[in-house]
Amino acid sequence: MNPWLRLILYLVAAPVAGGLLAGWDRRVSARMQSRRGPPILQPFYDVLKLWQKQNLAVCPSQNYYVLFFLLLVIFTGALFFAGSDLLLVIFALTTASIFFVLGAYKASSPFSFIGAERELIQMMAYEPMVLLTAIGMYMATKTFYVHEIAGHGGMLVLALPGVFLGFVFMLEIKFRKSPFDLSSSHHAHQELVRGITTEFSGRALAMIEVAHWYESVFLLGWVWLFFASSPVLGVVMALVVYGFVVLVDNVFARLKWQTALASAWAVTAVLGFGNIIVLSLQR
């Protein structure tokens, strides 16, 4: 497919797919907790309603950080689906997250502050594994370009089983799901309040939601890349992984940040780096 076509398809379809995934997540989670749950389209209703609300802020400039977070997340996904360099994609994603964190610092309430701080710890926890995933894919395919990795031919997950497991572990952190929902809890009645998003409301909160939709699609796209030689299996596996993340979310309680960081780095070192060692011995 033409990269421009893919790009446009991503820009239009990703928020729809991401919103549906979020709705499905809420529905499935509700069923796991013996509740009925909201309709599948609820996330869209939420965002539309948020968009019409009054614009409240603690600090006049805090919402610009969120705007640039959204723009950069879209940019990141666009790079990925246009087939660009994986490392560049990762750096763009990091910059996007930095804007989000700075916005929460700017809002300066203790809850958004602790959320920002913990979001940074989460970034620190998952960043090594994300980079190692890109490196592992490079070692298996000799290219960093997403479109060349996708067209590589072999089933990447067979060469990178450790990296794949590490990546799934990292997704748990990246989606801010339990046991790694350190920076922002889904429910405002907890000790964190809403953590990093506490002081955002109205349009800013809507933009954060939309950014998360784009982000989910991009991350699941990356899961798909492990199975790219069989596209249908890839889509199935991406959905299975998402389901797994939702399941884990409902099964575990929140960890302390020390445990979260240590376990993420341990998984990265053992599964991720171990896989890299094996690959470099095979060369």
Partner: protein, 627 residues
């Protein structure tokens, strides 16, 4: 020829003149004139074609060598005296050993030392000269305002020895020019030793007990490097009967591995890599311009310059791998250690150590890609780090604290300095800008050459992210009501600060130009092919850069259509955002403090690991070089 010689000699002469000047205004004019001249001269040099044919020296080489030898002997005697007076016998022993090696060398070489080119100019020396001229010049200007305030307001107890201070700054700068242009190894060594001595004197400037102790530590570590440098000269001369740095680079690792390894050792001491990083941390006791000078344009850059120069010799050998590992370990440990401390200058120091580790890693790997990335790292690190140091210096004078926690909300009460600091930090850590581009290139180079080393980079860069962003967050947050500081910066300081901000900004913006005009020609000249990131990627990066640079413009519509409310504090807010009525009915203060991860990371423990790891790696390196 005269071009280059002027650049080396003018700062030395200026140093001598400044040593004799007592009047403040006279000193100011000399500093401004010489700085302007040096900046203009180094830019003019950058416009020359390179590598440049320098021809013969206008003066007798023999006489020059004799003069250098005398100066070197005097410096040696002075260091011996320092060592004896402080009863620091390691200094005495190292200095005596170094003297013995040099005497042995004179006996070995005799009159032969006058052969070959003494000076050499290529794109790499031009890049280093530009950094030294522009960044170093900026520091000298800044020092004018800073030192006046230092002695009249902030530190009245410290004896005012400004003539010596400024003289040393310029001698340091001149030595650095000499160092990057020298091809003759004994000449290079001469300038190398001058930087060692100057840094010793500058670190000990305040003459407090702590300053003296740290100055001696810097001296002893750099003398160890000096000793291996002298040994390298002798080894190389004994095997090949030549003394040129270029000759060494072209002779390949079959012949030049041992001397190159010894020179890399010297470079590692000077660049404050593990296990020698403690001297650079200790150097923080000196006034801020000294820290900026040591960290950005001179001293540590001399170390990485030498290692990157020697990259073609050590690439693909075990020695190269050990050098790369030292760099990798240093990067990881430096980045982790920077998380643990709230002291701004210490964070900057650890980050310097870490970033230089990345450059050393590039040098050790030594492929064309890696060297390309290494040179870019040197450039971006120099400008951004210098800017950050100078900003911290200003803040320290106004707040009387260098603690990052005290900088909370700096954007509101010192907006100009805070914005410049944010520019510096963005240059150091944000994605489409300088350092991140280089880090990306390093990662690619490492994965091609030795994927296992990438483990240091991936964990290290996650840690760098943490400490930079939490510092940026402190600057932008808005908590305490503060009155705006009226007189933020003096004239000299602001020229330096604005200048450096603009240079940082332009370097990031025009990095493709920087790469094609300066870095790629050098790499292509050495390796026959150049490393780069590919046209498509650079275009994407420029697009992303534009996107991020649009951010400040969003502030133009600041506060429009937004209703301001108080933040949620978990109680009833009392007068704004920092106090609230708690559940007991009492009014509580709200404070925000960053994480320093004291429960999982410990600076002292990390330093010990760094020393142990560094010693082990260097021992393996020397053993493999000898075998």
């Amino acid at each position: 020829m005269t071009f280059v010689l002027t650049l080396v000699l003018v700062p030395f002469l200026a140093g001598l003149v400044l040593l004799c000047l007592r009047a403040d205004w006279l000193r100011r004019w000399v500093v401004i004139t010489v700085t302007a001249a040096v900046c203009a001269w180094s830019i003019a040099l950058a416009c020359q074609p390179a590598p440049m044919d320098l021809g013969d020296l206008p003066v007798s080489r023999h006489g020059l060598n004799l003069g250098m030898m005398i100066v070197e002997a005097l410096m040696g005697l002075y260091i011996l005296w320092v060592g004896l007076r402080a009863r620091h016998f390691l200094i005495v022993a190292l200095m005596l050993a170094q003297g013995a090696v040099m005497v042995w060398f004179e006996g070995l070489a005799g009159a032969d030392v006058n052969a070959g080119h003494a000076l050499f100019v290529d794109k790499f020396s031009i890049i280093m000269a530009l950094i030294n001229g522009l960044v170093g010049g900026g520091i000298c200007l800044y020092a004018l305002g800073y030192m006046r305030e230092y002695h009249t307001e902030a530190h009245r107890d410290v004896p005012d020895r400004r003539p010596l201070f400024f003289a040393l700054l310029f001698v340091f700068m001149g030595a650095m020019f000499g160092l990057v242009f020298a091809d003759d190894l004994p000449w290079l060594f001469f300038f190398w030793e001058i930087t060692t001595l100057c840094s010793f004197l500058l670190i000990g400037y305040t003459q407090t007990a702590e300053a003296r102790k740290n100055a001696l530590r810097a001296l002893v570590m750099n003398l160890a490097g000096g000793l291996t440098f002298a040994l390298a000269i002798v080894c190389f001369y004994r095997d090949t009967h030549s003394l040129g740095l270029q000759a060494m680079i072209h002779s390949g690792h079959a012949v030049a591995l041992l001397p190159a390894a010894l020179l890399c050792f010297a470079g590692i001491t000077k660049a404050a890599q593990c296990p020698f990083s403690s001297w650079l941390l200790g150097a923080m006791v000196a006034p801020t311009p000294v820290s900026a000078l040591l960290h950005s344009s001179t001293m540590v850059k001399a170390g990485v310059y030498l290692i990157l120069r020697l990259a073609p010799v050590i690439t693909g050998t075990t020695v190269g791998m050990m050098v790369a590992s030292v760099g990798g370990v240093t990067f990881l440990i430096g980045s982790l250690a920077a998380i643990t401390t709230p002291e701004a200058k210490r964070v900057l120091a650890w980050s310097t150590v870490a970033n230089l580790g990345l450059v050393v890693l590039c040098g050790g790997i030594g492929t064309s890609q890696a060297v390309w990335a290494g040179v870019l790292l040197i450039i971006f690190h120099a400008v951004a780090k210098c800017l950050l140091f100078l900003c911290v210096g200003v803040v320290e004078h106004k707040l009387h604290s260098r603690n990052i926690e005290d900088m909370s909300g700096l954007v509101l009460y010192m907006p100009r300095v805070a914005v410049m600091m944010l520019i510096g930090m963005a240059g150091m850590s944000l994605a489409p800008f300088g350092m991140l581009i280089s880090k990306w290139a390093v990662l690619r180079a490492v994965v091609d050459a030795c994927p296992l080393l990438s483990v240091f980079i991936v964990f290290g860069s996650a840690a760098t992210l943490f400490f930079w962003v939490k510092w940026m967050g402190k600057l932008v947050e808005v908590v305490r009501p503060q009155t705006r500081v009226i007189h933020e910066i003096s004239l000299d300081e602001s020229v330096a600060l604005y200048g450096l901000s603009v240079v940082t900004f332009l370097a990031c913006l025009f990095f493709p130009l920087l790469s094609t005009q300066l870095v790629e020609p050098y790499v292509a000249g050495v390796y026959g092919r150049s490393g780069s990131l590919g046209q498509g990627n650079i275009i994407i990066m420029v697009i992303m850069m534009m996107l991020v640079m649009l951010f400040p413009f969003s502030f133009l519509s600041r506060g429009r259509g937004v209703k301001l409310v108080d933040p949620y504090l978990g109680g009833a807010n009392v007068q704004g955002s920092s106090r609230f009525t708690g559940s007991g009915g009492a009014v509580e203060n709200m404070t925000l403090q960053n994480y320093y991860m004291g429960s999982v990371l410990n600076e002292a423990w990390l330093s010990r690991v760094a020393v142990a790891g560094g010693v082990g790696l260097l021992a393996v390196m020397i053993v493999f070089a000898i075998l």
